[in-house]
Amino acid sequence: MSLPPFANEPVLELRRAPVRAGLADALREHDARGPLEVPVWVGADKRSGDALVSTDPGTPDRVVATSAAATEADVDAALAGATGAARAWGNRPAGERADVLRRAAAALRERRLELAALEVRECAKPWPEADADVCEAIDFLEYYARGALELAEGAELLQVPGERNTMAWRPRGVCAVISPWNFPVAIPCGMAAAALGTGNTVVLKPAEQAPGCAFALVRALREAGVPPDALALLPGEGEVGAKLVRDPRVHTIAFTGSSAVGLEIVRAAAETPDGQPHLKRVIAEMGGKNCVIVDADADLDEVVPALVKSAFLYAGQKCSAASRVLCHAAIHDGLVERLAGAVSVLEVGQAEFLDVDVPPVIEREAAERVARYTEQAEGTGRIAARARDVPAEGWFATPAVATELPAGSPVLEEEIFGPLLAVERVRDVEEACDRVDASPFGLTGGLFARNPDTVDRVVERTPVGNLYVNRAVTGAMVARQPFGGNRRSGTGTKAGGPAYLLQFVEPQVVCENTMRHGLVV
């Protein structure tokens, strides 16, 4: 079976007015439907409830979804079902599983605006980013469908007379998928699609802030033909994930989220309790403290808009977002001045409005965290600029640029995950590289430099998983920029890349003797 070559799902061309006009309608329709009821969904059983309430971060009294929370018994039932379904799903021809993924892609494609509207409300994800998230989910389904088909062909091995050598990749078994809220459809979709496409069964524990988006995804996958027991939805708080991670029935854990939780998972997964006949594998995408190096020959006309985009779109709540700028001393002051001017005119407001540059952050705790770091920056350094009018209601953080911070400041070392960008002065690119090196993180990095020799040098030195040269550091595209961090930012796996699916399978080599009594068959 061969499929047409992969191409990214085109995002909405929002620079055209007629395309923009459809958005308000989609949001109206979304609002008219009322809050989503998200069940714990195990096999055919749907149990609804209101243990979790997901609200619009910009208007916290607007309920977007009410959700049941999975109990210990739900986790147990989901894992029993997934274990039982693993053999049958794994034995389905790869082509059938690929068809299922592609049918799910088609379903998402048909409901793009509806899903994006849900993201606008549930996660305060602005339209262009919400649309891009749904497109990325479609991309993951299409890309992994093709990858799984390719993997099913096995590997070419050297053959000599008298033996037949084959290598195949087999599903590992039950995969626990633990997903974040910031790419509320794409990330759970990518992890689940990779596992399902390669013949594993999935138990999904989505972020408690975004159960509605996860439900929409699971529904699309189920309707596309994923058997009920092969995909369970377990909304809930952290302890649901913790139970999944420790359970001996789980073979693979695909996690995207904070560094603290990621490290905890890596530790827990290393245990091999009695009754667990396998080693668990962890695929983890964790935090970052992403640095953009700006050399003296950079064009500030390009640097400033790219930094604003990298650090402030979606209020800086992307693991790829820029957090530190390491700028050559020769142009540091000029950059700070222009960046400050650009940040002070950022419009902060509700995600639904296209002319808003910076939406609210996800929850109260996040707004408070950003405020704490900003205060710290002000106390030990200087706030060069703040966005002006920030709404009082809703979980808004004030976009800001911090400079003149002392070495070792937590503002420079810890992941803030919000709209606060620190600018540091460096002697040269070498010193910038030293500072990047000193950080335990290694997710994304940026470089603005025009001398090709400088670019080569930084490429060689940088530990980051994704380096962006002379452009923004966010917006990785499936198949174009396989994404994932190194060091403590992740396990070095690249979502949307050619080797990602190998994390979900186990290789098996068979060597068969084909000679008997001198007869080669």
Partner: protein, 448 residues
């Protein structure tokens, strides 16, 4: 009108234009100082290397730094021609780098000065006066950094105000040039300034034009007033499709306001490489008969092919959108002729300004205007300073009104402009390249 008659007239006008090209510059790429461009036109890698170098010159901090950049770029050229090999050898020593840096900086400055006529409007006045004396009107474009802050928008607006003070005052002293000063619709200002909306606001967002439009309007209205009071023409330039609708809407809205009915003379730009440019013209024509009908000065529409072709194609490809521009140059050329005719048909309601260096495109407009009974001065021709000077002279020699687009500003600000011009100049299917290759007049005038 019969196509055959138009083609006959076009050929005749074209031959006369060609004959009127100044002899020494019939081949605009042949001058000795343009060896680099000639080399570049033949080798895509070398072209990229040289353009990236030109682009980075203002950001280099020393001759050594310049030389290191130059050799860095040239080092990526796979099979360097002899002059490049020499440069690379020079780059190996400190003294060599100093010499190489100085030579290359001088080369880039020289090239920039061909396109950029002065650091400020004041400094540009002698050139503008010289053009006028030679029968060529001008429009001044103030080059600058991108506007990302309010302060930058204010600075750009202030520079525009400055130009609107300096230019009309100086132009009053120029001698009379009837062909440049009036058409069937009335008098034409001598002073003419082209402005960019994206430079007037840091808030122009492709996905959400309204906020940027409001902000730009706050700075554009005073400029319109100053232009009216000083008796200058204000032309609103067009950039990429990202801002096209926002700019068009803003211009038509402001010019339709009661306050600006009496003036100033103003204009906008139509880009023929855009597939939907015919619909844009529909909108402009509808406006000219509606909200814009009572204006004292008909709206000038500068018809160009468009200077952001690569940008548009790349932007669309990266997003999976269909390209908004014609992929084939011939399609753009045909559309240009189509739009020329519609604009010329609308003379009186609009002021057509045909901006092209293509002999055929220019001859086509002249011929069409003549065959449809227009006064020769009802159509204006525009060219870019530094590229279209020979054809400007030829157009002027025919007694027609021609205007040169003259960038003003410092070298730093001018680089992106310069690179765009160089791209045009060395593009394989450019008219100027054909002309430089010595392609015959019949072929230059052949239908696209």
């Amino acid at each position: 009108m019969r196509e055959a008659a138009l083609e006959r007239e076009l050929l005749e006008v074209g031959r006369r234009l060609h004959a009127a090209l100044p002899a020494a510059t019939r081949n605009p790429l042949a001058a000795a100082d343009e060896k680099a461009m000639e080399l570049a036109a033949q080798d895509a890698e070398l072209k990229a290397a040289l353009f990236r170098f030109v682009d980075v010159v203002p950001a280099c901090r020393s001759l050594d730094d310049l030389a290191r950049h130059l050799t860095g770029f040239l080092g990526e050229v796979e099979s360097p021609p002899p002059p490049v090999a020499v440069a690379l050898r020079m780059g190996a020593s400190r003294a060599g780098r100093k010499a190489l840096g100085a030579a290359s900086a001088a080369g880039v400055r020289h090239m920039a000065h061909r396109f950029i006529i002065g650091e400020s409007p004041q400094a540009a006045l002698p050139t503008l006066r010289g053009l006028w004396r030679d029968g060529v009107a001008s429009t001044v474009d103030l080059l600058g950094e991108a506007t990302v802050t309010e302060a930058e928008a204010e600075r750009y607006a202030a520079r525009c105000e400055g130009a609107l003070a300096v230019l009309p005052a100086a132009a009053r002293e120029w001698s009379e040039r009837p062909a440049l000063e009036c058409d069937g619709a009335g008098a034409l200002p001598r002073a003419n300034l082209s402005v960019k909306v994206s430079a007037l606001t840091p808030l122009l967002r492709p996905d959400a034009p309204a906020r940027g439009q409001r902000d730009a309007a706050e700075r554009l209205r005073p400029l319109l007033r100053s232009a009216r009071e000083g008796g200058a023409h204000l032309h609103i330039d067009m950039e990429s499709l990202d801002s096209r609708d926002a700019v068009l809407e803003l211009v038509l809205e402001l010019l339709g306001e009661e306050e600006f009915r009496a003036g100033p003379s103003a204009g906008m730009v139509l880009q023929a490489y855009l597939r939907d440019s015919p619909e844009t013209l529909d909108a402009v024509l509808a406006w000219a008969e509606g909200a814009g009908a009572g204006r004292a000065h008909p709206l000038t529409v500068r018809l160009v092919k468009g200077a952001y072709w690569d940008h548009e194609v790349v932007e669309a490809a990266q997003h999976g959108w269909s390209a908004p521009v014609f992929q084939e140059k011939a399609d753009s050329d045909r559309n240009f002729e189509e739009l020329s005719r519609r604009l010329i048909d609308a003379r009186g309601r609009l002021r057509p300004a045909i901006a092209s260096h293509n002999l055929r495109s220019v001859a086509h407009a002249i011929a069409y205007n003549r065959l449809t009974g227009g006064d020769p001065l009802d159509v204006e021709y525009q060219i870019l300073r530094g590229l279209g000077d020979p054809i400007a002279q030829a157009i002027a020699a025919l007694g027609l009104r021609v205007r040169a687009y003259c960038p003003v500003g410092d070298l730093v600000a001018g680089m992106s402009y310069l690179v765009r011009r160089l791209l045009e100049n060395t593009s394989n299917d450019s008219f100027l390249a054909d002309q430089a290759k010595g392609v015959g007049v019949e072929e230059l005038l052949a239908a696209p």
